[in-house]
Every structure is written in C-alpha cells, then in structure tokens.
C-alpha cells in the first residue's frame, strides 16, 4: 500500500509536469496536436465499427482507416518540420515545408480516392465515379 501511494503521487507529479510542459508549446503547434488527436480518434472509431459489424466492404474500411492514418502522419511530418526547437530543420523554410505537405497530401488523396466503392447519395456517387475514371 505504501508503494501504491508513492506510485499515485508519482503519477500525479508526472501528469502535472506533462501538463505544464505542454502549456509551454506555442499555439500554432497545438493546432497540429488537436488535428492529430482527432484523426486518431476517428481511426479507433472506424476500427471498432469494423470489428463490430464485420468487414463487408473491405475497400471502404481500408479507405477510412488509411485516410485517417495518412493525414495524421502527414500532419506529424509537418509538425516536425515546423517546430522551431528542432535543430536539424532550422534551415528549412516553413513555406517550403508547407508546400511539401500540400504536395504529399495531394498525391495521397489522389490515391485514396480510388478506394471509393459507393456513396450514399446517387449524385455524389456519379461525381466520385467520374473522378475515379479521370484519375
């Protein structure tokens, strides 16, 4: 019991210091963190949905899962490159980093659009199918 209390105290200390350190990060980076968190949440939701209902349309499962992870990691990459404390990337202009980010996102979405199976609304369905054929 003695050990347990010490662990609890340590855990609290840890959380406090994490919290304080986190507050110190500049606001623009916090946006990244929020987006990444959001995407991880959606990823978990998608996986649990598939586990519950079964993977009928594996295409759409793949699409959902991988789009979440993909945009999440790309945001992480941008975050790495923009973070001012990161010594190795001092000479990389933030504009260049953002341009790279946009380009890779473009390629990523071009690719992932091919996994569309079907769409609830028939009009949107036609739009997506024609986009797929173009790509």
């Amino acid at each position: 019991m003695y050990n347990k209390t010490i662990v609890c105290v340590y855990a609290q200390d840890l959380l406090c210091s994490l919290h304080s350190a986190y507050l110190a990060t500049p606001t623009n980076l916090k946006i990244h963190h929020y987006l990444i968190f959001l995407r991880s949440f959606y990823f978990l939701e998608h996986v649990s949905y598939m586990a519950l209902v079964g993977s009928f349309s594996f295409n759409s499962f793949l699409f959902g899962v991988l789009s979440c992870t993909g945009t999440a990691f790309l945001a992480i990459c941008l975050w790495i490159q923009v973070n001012k404390e990161n010594k190795k990337f001092k000479d990389l202009a933030p504009k260049r980093a953002f341009a790279d980010f946009v380009l890779s996102n473009l390629v990523f979405h071009l690719v992932i659009m091919n996994f569309f199976d079907r769409c609830p609304s028939p009009i949107l369905n036609v739009v997506f199918m024609s986009c797929k054929n173009v790509v």
């Binding site: 200390d13 210091s17 690719v111």
Partner: protein, 779 residues
Amino acid sequence: MAMSPPPGTSSSAMRNAFGTVLSALILLLIGVLAFSIRLFSVIKYESVIHEFDPYFNYRVTQFLSKNGIYEFWNWFDDRTWYPLGRVIGGTVYPGLTLTAGTIWWALNAINIPLSVETVCVFTAPVFSAFASWATYLLTKEVKGSGAGLAAAALLAMVPSYISRSVAGSYDNEAVAIFALIFTFYLYIKTLNTGSLFYATLNAIAYFYMVCSWGGYTFIINLIPMHVLLCIVTGRYSPRLYIAYAPLVVLGTLLAALVPVVGFNAVLTSEHFASFLVFIIIHVVALVYYIKGILSPKMFKVAVTLVVSIGLVVCLIVVAVLVALVASSPTGGWSGRSLSLLDPTYASKYIPIIASVSEHQPPTWPSYFMDINVLAFLVPAGIIACFSPLSDASSFVVLYIVMSVYFSGVMVRLMLVLAPAACIMSGIALSQAFDVFTASIKYQLGRSANSKDDAEDNTSTNNAPKDDSSSGKTDKGEEVAKERSSKKGKKKEREPADKPSVKSKIAKKRVLVLPLEASIVALLLLIMLGAFYVIHCVWAAAEAYSAPSIVLTSQSRDGLHVFDDFRESYAWLSHNTDVDDKVASWWDYGYQTTAMANRTVIVDNNTWNNTHIATVGTAMSSPEKAAWEIFNSLDVKYVLVVFGGLIGYPSDDINKFLWMVRIGGGVFPHIKEADYLRDGNYRIDSEATPTMLNCLMYKLSYYRFVETDGKGYDRVRRTEIGKKNFKLTHFEEVFTSHHWMVRIYKLKPQKNRIRGRAKKLKLKTSSGLDSKAAKKNPWI
C-alpha cells in the same frame, strides 16, 4: 598556372565546374556502354524476343497497343489454360507492359514508326542505362560522386544483370531493377535531407516497383529492417520518421491499387514487418517527444509507469496477432515467399516451384561467373562503409547482407545481389584509389618540397597536404581510373609553389604509403578492372546472348542454325484451325500462344497445379488413357519437344521426371517407382514396361529408328528400348527439320467396332471395364 594565396575560390569553382562536366560526360559514356554491351544477341542472331516468359509479355504489349488501356485492364484471356482461361488484368504485373506501351505510343505520336517488337526488344538495354545512372545517384548519396561513378561503371557491365536484360529479354526484371535502385536512392535521399518532397517521390517510385515485379516485397521488408536497425543502434532522428512513415502509408495504399497485389498488401505476412515497424517508430517518436518536454527525473517515472502498463497491452495485442497468423496454414505467407525463408519447403510440398531451374540454389562457380571480381571487392567495401558509419552506409551494408542470403537460396535472386555488390565495390575502389593517389601526390609533393622543408618526415607539411588532399578529394574522386596519374602530375606543382608552412597544426599521422607501392597498387587495380571488363564482355557475348528459340552450333561445315521452334509454330498457325487446342508441357505455352496463336492447355504461369498435373498424367499414361484425358479437354494436337537427334538436352524426355512427379502428386495412380529402373529414368532396353508404353516415350521416339537404323539417342547416349512400334490413337502430322518439335493429332473415335474385337474385349476385361464398355457405345 599556380594561384597565389588566398586560395582561389575561383580556382576551386573552376575545378568544380570542370569536375561536373567531366562526370556528366562519364555518365553519358556509361549509359552508352550499358546499352551497347547488351546488343550482342541482336548482332549475333537477330532482333527477336528470347526465351519463354518474354513472349507472354510481348503478346500482352501487342494487345495493349492494339486495344488500349481499358481493354487491357479488363482482359480475360480464353486462349490459355483451356477451359479455365486466365484473367490477365488481375494477374499480371503491369509495369513492364505499360512502360513499353507508353514508349511505343510516344514514339509513334512523334512519327517515329517503330514496331512493337522493336520497342520490346530494346526496352531492357535502355532501362539498364537508366539503372546505372540510378546507381550513380544512390552511391553518391552514400559516399560521394567518385564512388558513384565507379559503381555505375561496374553495374553497366555486371554479368548477372546482363543475363536478364539483354536486348530481347523482355522480362519484368528489365525495368524492376531500375525501379529498385531508384527507390533505394530516393529513400536514402529522404534520409539524408529529411524533406517530405523526396518522401512522396519515394512512395511513387515504390509504386512503380510494385507494378513491375513480385520482388517488391524485398523493398518493403528491407526498409523496415533498416529503420529498426537505426532505432536499435540509437540513430533515431526525425528524418528517419519522415523517410519511413510516408513510405509505409502511401506505399501500401499504392500497392493495394495494383490489381495483382490488391488486398494482399495489408493481409499477407510479407507486409506485416512494415506495419510492425510503423507502430514501433511511432512509439519511439512519442518517447523522444516526451523526453524532450519533461525533466529527466519525471521521465524516469514516466518510463516505469508506461512500461508496466504497456507490457500488459503489448502481450494482449501479440496474442491476438499470433492467433490470427496461426489460423492460416502457412502462417499467412505465400508459397514462393515461404520457399525463400525455408529452402526445403518447395521440394517437400510444391514440386512446381521446385522444378523451375531458376529457383534452384546457385553453385559456387556461378557467383564468380555472375559478379566476378566484385566478389573480392565487396568485403573491402563493407569495411569502407564503416568509416564513418552513417545512416546511408548502414543501409547499404544491410542491403548487401540480405541480398547475399537470398541469392544463396535462389539463383534468380543473384540479380538483386548485383546492384548491392556494385555499390560496395564502387565504394571500395574509390576509397582505394583515394588512398593511393593521395600517397603518390604526397610523396611527390614531399620530394619537390624537400629543399624547403627542414623538418623530418613525421611532421608532415599538413597545410599543403591538407589543401591538396581536400582539393583532390573533390576532383580526384571524379576522375576515372586512367586519369589519376595525369592529375597527380598536374597538382604536384601546386604544393611546390605554396609556401612551406611549418607544422603549427597538431601532428597528424597521415596514412601514407611509399611511392613505389602506391604506383604498383594502382597498376594492379587497373589490371583488376581490365580483367573484369574482359570477363563481362565475354559473358555477354558468349554466355548470355542466346535467344534459346534459335540454336546455333559450330561444326566443320560452318555454322548450323536450328530454327525448329519457329518452323513448327509457323506450321501450326498455317495448318490448323483457329480454334484448335494444342497440348504440350507448360514450358511452351507462352510461345505457342504468342507465335502460333493457338489455344493451349497449360502455360508458364503455372497457377493451376491440378491442370498441369492432368497434362503430366496424360503424358505418363499409356496411349489409350492419354487419349481419353486429352479428348476430355478438347485437345486436337499434342506437341512434343525431342532433342535426341541433334543432342538438344532440354527436351521433354529430360523433363519427364517432373511430369511424373507433378502428375503423381495429384493423381495417385501415377507412381514414380513404376518408371524407375534402379532409381534412374531409362529409355533403353533396361527401361520398365510402364516407361516404354507411356505417351511421352511413344511420341518422342515414333519412327526414330528410321533416322539411323539403330535409334541412337544423342542426349541419353544409348539406343532406345522399343524401336518399332505403331501409334494407335495418335497420328503424326509434323516433325520439324531436325526432329526437335513433333506434332501429333488425336485420331477421331471409330464409328463402329468390329464384332469380334468387341466380344474379345468383353471376355478379357475386368468388371469395371465391362461396365464402362456397356455404358460407352464407342468401344
């Protein structure tokens, strides 16, 4: 000539410019060399597609050029694997055909009317030039441009790569090796620069590799292994994350887009390594991030907490994963990959994979034949990579270790070893030349300076030495082997003009060799290179240029040309109906569909083991049973390759053991022991009666005794056992000029049978036969 101090920035800029132009010129020459060394087959024979597999690719490219890409994606081929057919769009790696189709279309669009065949024949040499340029880029990232040029020159000529990319060898590896090296180059570039742009390019290059060859699993397993190695040796950095994470996600997505791979990209064990390392790298990144924002004491607390909770979670996840993997009989691996990991797997369970000669382990001499001198230089290159060890050089070391292992399992994978060996040898050669030329220049410079220099040897003139060596390392590495001595003479005037500086700089023991030893070593290295070049040219000309559809032999009367294959395919296409089905062993399927344009039963794709076993059983059965089997498959013609008259060793009698084994694997009434006498397959008078009665024997040796009166088989070197016999269910319709290809037609069923024969049959047959006789009115 001499620049007075301050050391001219203009002089180094001029030197840089000169070096760049020189290296560009050398690269161009290397490209021309790579292209032209592969043209021996066109010069010695003709511009024709070689072997078996390229004929399939050629046929697919023809279809693509005629019908367009949408028809290609949806193509269902009903002229092979009769009556099953084959979904070409979903089972072919489209990279090669799309590349050649694009080149053909582009050339025709600018009004250069090359035929599809010409484009197909010359695709491989063009892409090998590209591959050597990619090797230059890759090695430049690892060690500098001097090593790059050396590696590119070596790759242009290495025999193992030539063997699969001569003009006419229109196979997947021709473009796949270029894609492999280019993907590795982009990965290393991303690792060195940390730019997301190169990471995206890397994923696209990986996509091209997946399109081209099944060997892409090598990439998707090697790169995670390297990432793991970097993490374990403490070389984690954000650049590693940027290099790896986009590749996995984008790469897997792109791989899933290729129809051949489809969902295998996420479901099979070949890709699990990449996902596992993906998770690991995220964990490591998180750990480093938290370490960065916490104080060290708090971090220790965090570690203990997380480790205790995380271990439990990990165990649960691992248990789930193990259950999933164990539920599939092969643990999720495909047959071919399993046979790579466990070399004895194929021979035990999948005789088809074991029967392909390219899948056998290589012999020791084949290493020397295929990579020659590089076998000595590779260990030197590995050592050179360790000083200093960077991310890129650790990757190259891992690459060569893995490829050496896999090339030891399968001879076909010597091809993957070739680029790694060239890179390593290029590094080794470049470092060696570095040391020797530096020694020569230092020694010459010292002897020119000896009158100014009052000090002794050990307090070296570090300033001129350093200056010349640093200047030289820019230039000397870019210099090809034969020019090093000239440059040495040009530079030695510079140290002489510079003022002799006392060694105020800390005494460095510079690694310098005596002058004579360096010169002799340089000459020896140049001779080594010369031996390599001679061997490569010989291998390209003599060993690897045979198209194997046309054979030649030298004799006293001159050159004999054996063009039997094309003769018989032409006969087939002119003398049979379009819808006639031809049965042969699977080796000749692609050629028959491409050149003779007839439907075949089995071909080189070997995707259906039972179908091949059916044909094998038919070939090993007596005439009547074989006729029944072939008739049930609607076969009209049977094609047999026979080399006994001229001594051609790859004929069907030599492949007969595989027919028996594969057929016996599916149909238990074919027992291999029935065909063996003392453990050997024999066709002479000692052969077993089953062997003498089987279809393959009869179709090969029918009327053979008429050629020389004794029936002497030049391949097996004996006289045949049964010499005079008649065929009851088949009739011979064609035998080529040198008896290499023999075509037989199935005789149609008799309309009625004479009464006496019918009664005799009913009396002497067993119960089963009489039942069959009652049911079947034709007998």
